[in-house]
């Protein structure tokens, strides 16, 4: 085979030109290995944050602490074969991960090693895992919308590219689902997505990958996965590795969406490491730099200025609360770092209201800046309508006798709310969202019986897709809601309502 002879020829060249050289290195010795932490003697010149090689199997670790007589290192991998006395070598380098388009569609661990059984990922680029956030001069304010395809969010808690928006709620309230919906909605929009699973159960991670695969989102997404089985050092590393992979794209002028699922588990892993490293525990036994751990991560998401390529990285960190307590340590930390939060309430879940977003407690501090002008206009009424409705709802619960106007408002509000619910993994395009919000706030639902609203929605969407695509496109593209555009929407809705009510 020609290939063999080529190999041999190259090899011969290398061999003949090779100059043997002695190697002068530093060797350290493993003093102690415990729960993913190793103490190393020697290697006096090793620096904080440097990557070391342990034993003869290339196990990597990082120096996190310098003690008088030894180094404290965290180990990124299976350390069960490591013994006291094993040699430790310096690499002189900091931690890097592979980065590039070759990672898209793959499931990897934070070191870039494949987890999906499809062979090694050979990447052109490498990126430092820990690097400083872009300085002020390189940034511009968040201006471009990032659409999640979820009506409530895109209308009232709109997200922009480069924003950090926290998704917070108790367990099983749909946090991951919202993040996945956002990822699914980026299909065909040229946004690279990264889903970082931090210490999740393997079953959950598998489910997520399946969902991404099923809705054809995997092809533009990187999954960085650590499970609860992985050593805490790897779990700690996961979000930073994902962030680095995202930065690679951002610096090339691309848009990135990254999901950190979830930072609560990340905090716990870091706490374990810190305690094992004998660092002094603070509030709730978390180390003193637990805030910095998360702020340094989230500050790396930004909208870069044109001079830096104009790329962006939008972060959706997820935090799990206990009993709805958003005032506890980690949640308050992250709320103060992010540009807003989407609050998922378990009582809304129990009532069957999905997505279970508590609009009152949710906010997007970027808000209107990141909305298209038409949606902005249309959503203003929505906020008012819902606010009014919630007020009245309280009132009505006490069975008070209501006058006709109030009752009408109540019924209107109920229908608006009903229309705002949405099933999972079904993100909607902007044009349809605008139409629905418009229909709701302009009273086109008032004549429809409450239990038929969802059916109405289904049929309307189908109708819009088949007959009014150009109108939908106009809604997405145009700069303002002109009279004539509004008229057209009204006409379409009136005609549709007639048909619907007649058919019913």
């Amino acid at each position: 085979m020609a290939i063999t002879s080529d190999v041999l020829k190259r090899a011969r060249e290398i061999v003949t030109t090779y100059q043997p050289e002695p190697e002068i290195g530093e060797v350290g010795e493993v003093l102690e290995v415990q729960d993913g932490i190793a103490r190393v003697r020697g290697l006096r010149r090793a620096m904080l944050g440097e990557v070391l090689l342990f034993g003869r199997r290339g196990l990597r670790g990082q120096v996190l602490g310098l003690e008088r007589e030894c180094l404290q290192c965290i180990l990124f991998g299976d350390y069960t074969a490591l013994h006291t006395g094993d040699p430790v070598f310096r690499t002189g380098g900091v931690l890097e991960v592979p980065a590039g388009e070759e990672l898209l569609g793959r499931v990897v661990n934070p070191l870039g090693e494949p987890l999906d059984g499809e062979g090694e990922v050979v990447c052109r680029g490498r990126k430092r895992v820990f690097s400083p956030a872009p300085p002020v001069i390189d940034r511009v304010p968040v201006q471009r919308p990032l659409l999640t395809g979820i009506k409530i969010i895109d209308a009232m808690i709109p997200l922009g590219k480069g924003q950090r928006e926290l998704i917070i709620g108790d367990r099983r309230t749909g946090k991951t689902t919202i993040a996945l919906d956002a990822i699914l909605n980026q299909r065909g929009k040229g946004v690279f997505c990264i889903y970082v699973a931090i210490g999740q159960r393997l079953a959950n991670i598998t489910q997520v990958v399946e969902v991404l695969r099923k809705y054809k989102a995997l092809e533009y997404t990187i999954v960085v996965a650590t499970s609860s089985e992985d050593p805490p050092a790897l779990v700690y590393l996961a979000p930073y590795a994902g962030c680095a992979m995202g930065e690679y794209f951002m610096e090339q002028g691309e848009d990135v969406l990254i999901v950190y699922d979830d930072l609560t588990k990340h905090a716990v892993a870091y706490r374990s490491l810190s305690l094992l490293l004998r660092r002094p525990p603070g509030r709730e036994s978390y180390p003193g730099d637990i805030f910095y751990i998360h702020s340094s991560l989230l500050e790396r998401s930004a909208q870069l200025a044109e001079s830096r390529g104009g790329g962006s990285m939008t972060a959706l960190p997820i935090v799990e609360t206990q009993e709805g307590d958003i005032a506890s340590y980690i949640p308050t930390n992250i709320i103060s770092i992010t540009d807003g939060q989407i609050y998922l309430a378990s009582d809304l879940c129990n009532k069957g209201f999905f997505p279970a977003i508590n609009i009152g407690l949710s906010v997007s501090r970027v808000g209107g800046e990141a909305q298209t002008p038409i949606m902005k206009k249309v959503a203003r009424r929505l906020r008012l309508d819902l606010a009014q409705y919630f007020e009245l709802e309280e009132f009505a619960r006490f069975g008070a006798d209501l006058d006709v106007i109030t009752r009408k408002q109540l019924e209107h509000g109920k229908r608006v709310l009903e229309l705002m619910t949405q099933t999972y993994f079904a993100p909607l395009p902007l044009g349809v969202e605008i139409f629905e919000v418009f229909a709701a706030t302009q009273g086109f639902l008032d004549s429809i019986p409450l239990e038929k609203v969802k059916l109405w929605e289904q049929q309307l969407v189908a109708h819009l897709y088949s007959e009014h695509r150009p109108l939908l496109e106009r809604l997405e593209k145009e700069r303002d809601l002109t009279q004539d555009l509004e008229e057209e929407m009204r006409k379409v809705l009136a005609a549709f309502n007639e048909q619907f009510l007649a058919g019913a």
């Binding site: 290398i14 002695p22 060797v27 020697g42 290697l43």
Partner: protein
Amino acid sequence: MRDEERVRVVTPFPLTGEQKDIISAKLSRIIPKPFTIEEEVDPSLIGGVVILWGELLIDCSVKTQLERLRERILREEGFSHGDHQ
């Protein structure tokens, strides 16, 4: 503060007197205090010598050179299918 006095010298064959002298002479240029040589035999080195003083490792073994050669060869790009379309 390095471990003074003790220097581990590993060779594939037992040291001859001549070899020991050579080693002592050279090492004394970099090791300030008097030291003693602990000899060790490791045939896997094939040739040359490995010296361990405290945390300083001086690797002059043939084995390591072979390993480096091997790495060099395997790291070469252009061996992939792309070249042979």
